[in-house]
Symmetry: C2
Amino acid sequence: MAEGTRRTPLSRERVLRAAVALADGSGAGGGAGGSGGAGGDGAVGGSAGVEALSMRKLAQELGVVPMALYKHVANKEELLAGMVDAVVGEIDPPAPGADWKDVVRQRVLSARRVLRHHPWAPRVIESLPAPTPAMLDHLDSVIGTFRSGGLSADLTHHAMHALGGRVLGFSQELFDASPPGGTPAGQTAPEAAAQAAELAARYPYIAEIAASAVHTDGSVISGGCDDQFEFEFALDLLLDGIDRLHRRGWTSSAHRGGPSAAPAGG
Amino acid sequence: MAEGTRRTPLSRERVLRAAVALADGSGAGGGAGGSGGAGGDGAVGGSAGVEALSMRKLAQELGVVPMALYKHVANKEELLAGMVDAVVGEIDPPAPGADWKDVVRQRVLSARRVLRHHPWAPRVIESLPAPTPAMLDHLDSVIGTFRSGGLSADLTHHAMHALGGRVLGFSQELFDASPPGGTPAGQTAPEAAAQAAELAARYPYIAEIAASAVHTDGSVISGGCDDQFEFEFALDLLLDGIDRLHRRGWTSSAHRGGPSAAPAGG
DNA sequence: CAAGGTAGGCGTACGCCGTACACTCGTCAA
DNA sequence: TTGACGAGTGTACGGCGTACGCCTACCTTG
């Protein structure tokens, strides 16, 4: 390498941006070319996701030696927190005006939109030992929307818990609709069909649900069901329930006793 | 080591049990004593959780060399799946008789009880590439309860999505109520109070919520709010919403159009 | 201009990880 | 007796995060 070309210096921001890009899967944006040869048999560490993000790979992407990164981030955990902070910071600010339900709805859907671009983020967020500043800003702002809408602090507290990860744009879609084992890459169509049939025999209700999803759609979208619709369904369900409690003047202290004291009951 | 004592042979089940115990944090149940000295500076890998579970530590716990484990599990991923399968298998079978809502409720609460004993399980479950047989059994059984209760396949499908991880006993309680940074182990009470005050100034709504939780409880329980109550609140909210839709004959196809087509609206 | 401080990047090294591969050894059937 | 076989062993490799010390380009100050 000719040393005449002056390398743009590292910075915390540049490190974080490269890390996010690497986790997103959009690698190979740096300058220096790395060694071509790969390792032997391990085969661990895909081309995207947190698995693909190692300090060494990130350094290579930036054309720098691994230890150089430690001048800008304390350690890998702080790097991950910084990445989350950057991503969460992309969530739209609250739209002014509309009523609290709409505002929260827009906020959450914006968060979802952002997180969909960084599929690694939910897992990383859940692995953090503490929320990042941007997360706290977002949570605080959502809480503020509830409170400004007239909800009691008590109800808002429970509402935030009920919304859970949805506030940050993700709900755990446990697995996509593909069958377990997910067509292991070297499988013919008849084999897959046979496996599906066996599965249907073993788990009839699951099969029925999957089939009904396909019928309802009219076509198979993203494995047979509409993620976005599912997300909004759950979101609206929760929001409407919360709204009803609010209008009813519900208070948690009146329901502490019985385990079956349904909040939206009777 | 005296080689007179015949070691009970390994088996897949013994490996899985030891792995679960190690992840639970109840280690040191094996036979052979390991080397005392620990490593130098890394300090990664606590005394419990998935972090603490390495093939090497597990082997040591079983008084065996690491590679011996590979005669009983294909690799670490399969080990984790086996652990999850064992744990999910502990969930109570459905109680007969009562109406669908109660049955689901008991089932989910049983799942929660089980998972509370294995705090590492949710994270591992979310990291699995596909559901395990025991998970499929559980999901199928819950779906069956909905269907036997008269819910349409369509509504049941959406209900399962809405319930999400709760069906398996966990909802992401993003973080406990402790302040970020969580009293970093070398901190005096005045310092903590000052930090809390600063936090309250920066995030007024969060502080208000936290305070109201403490007041409602009358005492600080597990960081200021009752996890169990939060969990049941969200659960009942969702169940009642679903029940209402069911009794109303709600169908998803009538709500596909608008983005604000709230399922329980009006 | 020289002298000295500073901070960013480098190289080396350590202990950990998962696991491929070839081995030994106890057991049992023929 | 012998041969196959399966459980457990030993060694080794590539990868990981990162502690620690060095080297050098830069900026300040005189």
